[in-house]
Symmetry: C2
Subunit: 321 residues, 2 copies
């Protein structure tokens, strides 16, 4: 298994449950593991009954397991502040107000959330000290497009850097005699920032393609299957490695001798879901790595250990790594 | 009841089912009704077992009911072509390629889908000949922001129009003697288009605030309730009228004397969902206008009529209208 493991899927399918269970499984096998949760509503804090923060902290009662939580809303806010700060270094004070408004509007678009999270993931991956990092979400549509367009992106940044260098050169030439030029190439904040973004995207492309594995969590309903099919396609298009599907929220069967309205309802559903499992088995190239039944109680404690046992996902570190 | 009725909610909650049932209820009460579906996967075509297209056509076997289907992907494509065509009228051929690339990228952003659908909805509302039009989706986040910022929007378009007029004036002045000026204010395609967009947004704001009613479809799970709460807030913030919540996909109870694993599972779930119904009743200002049980079979035909009967939503036309 590679160093970074992502569990993707739409809201509500059970990404946090499956990723926490997998992280627990890794830790129990002695692999030093960090689980990163991004869902403020149903978080690893709920699963492990312990409050986690933005910094990794040890999970009580489990050796080799740390957890951290990233709040996407806070991350968007932080991203906004950081972009503003960086801009402040780069443009004249007169332009700051207009730019502020532009940045604020940009951060209200649907992509802002994804983009801020993506930046944060890359940060966590870059500074990683663990043998395994498990994420309870995976990059989707808009963010993946960044990875699938590295040439466009590099070309774009190169062109911007070229323009910027030309502009800086003009300022250097305009400086007469012993006067300091108003702007210098050396230490130019815009060039530095563009260079930084370019390196970040290069790192992200490499890390996600060569050091990360992706799983998708799917529920046995038509909508979830359709969305999973789209997500698999997007991940593969971006050159990423999708290794399996974890089916969650399967309807439990009634007792064999059970009769009545309830039993009939459940048997009909189980039957329908069996057809959907067949669809998943035949229409996807990825194996089903788990078939997890709905629990009425929240999945935590012993239940989490049970789910961990139901996962057919390798935990051992990649020998090649 | 107002002229336009929207049923909002996340994918999979059952918007198409509830909106089709409500449209059927209206038609049966003799209200001339059009139902507009936007979900290509589970569409009114499935519900009524009849293929509908982009143009309203009568629903077989039901008087006073027409249906149409809008495919959002096609709508994005059409929007893209239309924007390109409009641009082609407005810029020099030399710029068309660069602009093409920009437009194409803009249409791959998450907002494009929403924005194209929104334009189409407004078109349907503008040309409406029916007493009631029922939509199986409602504008969300990004699109609602357009409505809540009419002043910003108007100010922005006014500034753009001012700039454009200045530029056209320069061209007029530059025309010497009997020569035609290269550009003229009269019939200027950019001014015409900006004016058109401004009127569209004004119409949309007025129609959605004063002639439309919004319902949200919610499932009895935490995630759906949370998202509904956010959606209600967004709609109210935009000055829209949210009249009720339709709860769909409630777990059916087993027979009273039923025993066993299945019956226990169902009773536990019903119990949990009852608590969630209480939450919906106490924490929302909007009444529950339906409590619809999960059917194993697809909701169509007689089942649809049953669901229609379960809706406590008024059908009579507004006396004020």
């Amino acid at each position: 298994m590679r160093e970074f493991v992502f569990f993707g899927g739409k809201g509500g399918v059970g990404k946090t449950t499956v990723s926490s269970a997998y992280a627990l499984k890794c830790a129990r096998a002695g692999v030093d593991t960090l689980v990163v949760s991004t869902d403020p509503a149903h978080s690893t804090s709920d699963v492990f009954d312990q409050q986690f923060s933005d910094d990794p902290s040890p999970v009580e009662g489990v050796d080799d397991l740390h957890a951290m939580e990233i709040d996407p809303e806070e991350e968007v806010e932080r991203h906004l502040m950081e972009t503003r700060r960086a801009m402040g270094d780069q443009v004249s004070p007169a332009m700051v107000n207009e730019i502020d408004r532009q940045i604020e509007m940009a951060h209200q678009t649907p992509g802002a959330y994804e983009s801020a999270l993506f930046d944060r993931f890359i940060g966590v991956m870059r500074e990683n000290d663990y043998e395994r990092v498990v994420f309870d979400t995976s990059p989707t549509g808009g963010t993946l497009r960044l990875l699938s367009l590295p040439d466009l992106l590099e070309g774009w940044i190169d062109r911007l850097m070229h323009k910027r260098k030309q502009s800086v050169k003009l300022f250097e030439r305009a400086a007469i005699g012993n006067n300091e030029p108003r702007r210098m190439m050396e230490g130019d904040p815009i060039i530095a920032r563009l260079q930084e973004r370019k390196e970040l995207f290069e790192f992200a492309g490499d890390a996600l393609r060569n050091r990360a594995t992706f799983y998708l969590v799917v529920n046995p309903d038509e909508l979830s299957i359709r969305e999973t099919s789209r997500a698999v396609e997007n991940l593969l298009d971006a050159g990423l490695s999708v290794e399996g599907l974890a089916v969650n929220k399967l309807t439990p069967e009634p007792d064999p001798d059970e009769q009545g309205r309830g039993a009939r309802f459940l048997r009909d559903r189980v039957e329908t879901e069996r057809e959907r499992l067949d669809t998943l088995r035949t229409e996807f190239d990825q194996p089903l790595v788990a078939e997890i039944e709905t629990r009425v109680a929240e999945v935590k404690g012993n239940l989490l250990a049970d789910v961990a046992d139901e996962l057919s996902i390798d935990v051992a570190a990649d020998p090649a790594a």
